[in-house]
């Protein structure tokens, strides 16, 4: 047991060192002012894999800070996050798409659920081509749609060559890798494709699971990334963090303004700036204008019930979520997510303050100005 503690504190020390270099400079061991101290609780959440690297780092840090709280997050996909919240088998669900009106109805109506944005991420098209380096492959909305519709089958297809003069693309078959589970990453990607391609819109359409014309499925962002790494000639859509953390190569994407950008945190922030009025009902920020905007960008959301039966657990939950959208954001920067814009943080806090147990509000922080 002692060695466990030693190992734990060693890990914590490393994490602290890592955080020291973060742009915010906040020391998590002291915390920002006003982060409430939660009561003891074991919280369980499930859902999106898109923000999973951020969540796992943040929840680990939260446990280091407040050892009385463990937040067990299982990245099983956005679809599962929403479904398990509806079935009330988890304390919070996570999804990169807020719940639809049908899904909200199944969970007892829109008034029953609080949805907050927790982080901002962008998707990359990662590829596995030997001899072609990062950012060298340039993809346009048309070629992306062509590849995922199965119309462009080889890397040296003339349609690709047109945008990639100077890059020697091999005569290798393209293996498309997509998600096999219900996924918010898929939603954001197919939302983008439906925005830029009429063929896609009238064909597979947008959704957390779609009927893929081509390719092969893997479960979670993790497995898509692993499969791409394993398979020469593969391409797939994954959240930026997975690409950067594992040193994969990704394509430059042509955005709405016609400039090629390599997806990055800055690109995500630039895209989000174009849509200041995001709400759970109006959440799509793909294909943003602006020359720096990363085209396949989205917020990741987290859902809790407004009325918490267990007051202690409910308090721990909102305290933790408050931390997540404020101080906890630094762990997003460490794992290549963009920070939430301040207006979104304010929306989140207002929403969290509506969470109650037996009629009394659980979050005891002042309302944002």
């Amino acid at each position: 047991m002692k060695s466990v503690l030693v190992a734990l504190s060693a890990g914590a020390a490393l994490l602290l060192t890592a955080c020291g270099g973060s742009p915010t400079g906040t020391n998590p061991s002291t915390g920002g002012a006003g982060v409430p101290t939660p009561p003891a609780a074991s919280l369980t959440g499930a859902g999106a894999t898109f923000p999973a690297p951020f969540y796992s780092a943040a929840f680990y840090a939260y446990n280091q800070k407040f050892s009385q709280v463990t937040v067990n997050y299982q990245s099983v996909g956005s679809g599962a996050g929403i479904q398990q919240l509806t079935k009330k088998t988890v304390d919070f669900g996570a999804s990169d798409v807020p719940m639809s009106s049908t899904e909200l109805a199944a969970a007892g109506g829109a008034d029953n659920v609080v949805q907050i944005a927790t982080t901002l991420g962008t998707e990359s098209l990662a590829y596995n081509l030997s001899g072609v380096s990062n950012g060298q492959v340039r993809l346009t909305p048309d070629t992306i749609a062509g590849i995922f519709l199965g119309k462009i089958k080889k890397w040296n297809d003339p349609a690709l060559a047109a945008d990639n003069s100077g890059v020697s693309l091999p005569s290798q078959a393209i293996t498309v890798v997509h998600r096999s589970d219900g996924s918010g990453t898929t939603y954001i990607f197919t939302d983008y494709l439906s925005n830029v391609s009429a063929d896609w819109k009238s064909g597979p359409g947008k959704g957390k699971s779609v009927n893929w014309p081509v390719g092969q499925g893997a479960k979670g962002n993790e497995a898509v990334a692993t499969t791409i790494k394993q398979t020469p000639g593969a391409i797939g859509y994954v959240e930026l963090a997975y690409v950067l953390q594992t040193g994969m190569t990704q394509a430059s994407l042509k955005n709405k303004d016609g400039s090629f950008v390599i997806p990055s945190e800055a690109g995500a922030t630039a895209a989000a700036k174009q849509f200041p009025d995001v709400t759970p009902a109006q959440f799509s920020i793909v294909n943003a204008p602006g020359k720096d905007s990363a085209p396949i960008t989205g917020y990741s959301w987290l859902m809790v019930y407004k009325d918490e039966a267990d007051k202690t657990k409910g308090t721990a939950l909102v305290d933790m979520l408050y931390w997540l959208v404020t101080d906890g954001q630094q762990y997003g920067s460490n794992t290549h997510y963009a920070k939430l814009p301040s207006n979104m943080v304010n929306n989140d806090i207002v929403a969290l303050k509506t969470v109650t147990s037996a009629g009394s509000a659980l979050l005891s922080v002042p309302a944002p100005s």
Partner: protein, 328 residues
């Protein structure tokens, strides 16, 4: 552990002269009642098991009926669900598994039961087969994902395309994931069952038959071919069916290499889906009664198929050897 002969252990002395007959009978009745209750409880559990699959499946059964089995679409966006791709994938991968495992398993079983030469290999081989039976499916999946998949993609699949490429089965691009790789994984997983059961069946062939055949001047091969195999045919069929039952329901290892796409493709290099893989991937996330019901419907189909195959297998093995096959 108490030692001693049976007689020493039999009965504590005071009871022998007991006059409390009625109380003893009551004890018997209570004990028998307890045993009976537990036996009935297991029937109850099995009933709950089936109900727990059937009830949630009802919305999909009502909506799709038997058309479920011939519908090729599995589209959660448009809420159209058909079992055909997963059913096809399950049958194809299991068939590949059996086609590979059958000759190898039968050969190994013949070796264990018949071959006198190289007898020193028998012990280690039996041990190896038992070891393989005990390796968890997720470990085989891990190995298949990292080791087998690249091997299939870079060596086996190109070879098959070059030599047998005139068949539609071996055309198209191969990336290592798909029916064929899943079939090979299943072959490895059912091999222990094939070997162990066939060995027992072959051993049950009466010695006199063998000796008569050899005495008449038949070679070993001829004895195997015209005496042992015909005699053991029914039992071996049972062994194949039990292996099939295992292959049909295998979940984790197949999910890791099948490619997970609800399509039907002629090429064995293609990605596909199997009934258990659909469940493993989509069960926790199915939103709405129809999607969820369709998954339960798939589960129900899977369970009914495996029950049918297993019952048939057990009847065959039983009829042949007069004894129950070991639980594997």
């Amino acid at each position: 552990m108490r030692r001693g002969t049976a007689a020493e252990r039999v009965i504590p002395a005071p009871l022998v002269a007991s006059s409390r007959q009625r109380r003893l009978l009551a004890g018997d009745r209570i004990f028998q009642g307890l045993a009976l209750a537990s036996a009935i409880l297991i029937l109850l559990i099995a009933a709950i098991f089936m109900v727990a699959l059937f009830l949630p499946a009802l919305p999909a059964i009502r909506r799709f009926g038997l058309g479920f089995f011939v519908t090729r679409t599995w589209d959660p966006v448009r809420q159209i669900f058909g079992a055909l791709p997963a059913l096809y994938g399950t049958l194809v991968t299991s068939a590949i598994g059996i086609v590979i495992a059958f000759p190898i398993g039968l050969g190994a079983a013949l070796f264990l039961a018949e071959e006198a030469r190289l007898g020193f290999l028998r012990g280690p081989l039996s041990f190896a087969v038992e070891l393989l039976a005990g390796i968890p499916s997720v470990v085989i999946g891990l190995w298949a994902f990292f080791i087998l998949t690249p091997l299939m993609r870079d060596n086996v699949d190109p070879f098959l395309r070059q030599t047998l490429g005139f068949l539609p089965l071996f055309q198209g691009t191969a990336n290592g994931y798909g029916y064929l790789t899943a079939g090979v994984v299943l072959a490895i997983m059912v091999l222990p069952i094939m070997v162990a059961l066939s060995r027992d069946v072959i051993r049950a062939v009466p010695r006199a038959l063998r000796e008569a055949s050899l005495a008449l001047g038949a070679t070993k091969a001829e004895t195997i071919w015209s005496v042992i195999l015909p005699y053991a045919r029914v039992g071996i069929t049972g062994a194949v069916l039990l292996s099939l039952g295992r292959a049909l329901g295998e979940t984790i290892a197949v999910t890791m290499v099948i490619g997970n796409r609800p399509v039907i493709a002629a090429s064995l290099f293609s990605s596909g889906y199997t009934l258990p893989s659909v469940l493993a991937n989509e069960f926790t996330e199915a939103v709405g009664p129809l999607y969820q019901g369709s998954l339960f419907y798939l589960g129900l189909v899977l369970v009914l198929i495996t029950i049918a195959v297993n019952v048939l297998a057990r009847v065959l093995v039983w009829r042949f050897s007069g004894s129950e096959p070991a639980s594997l």
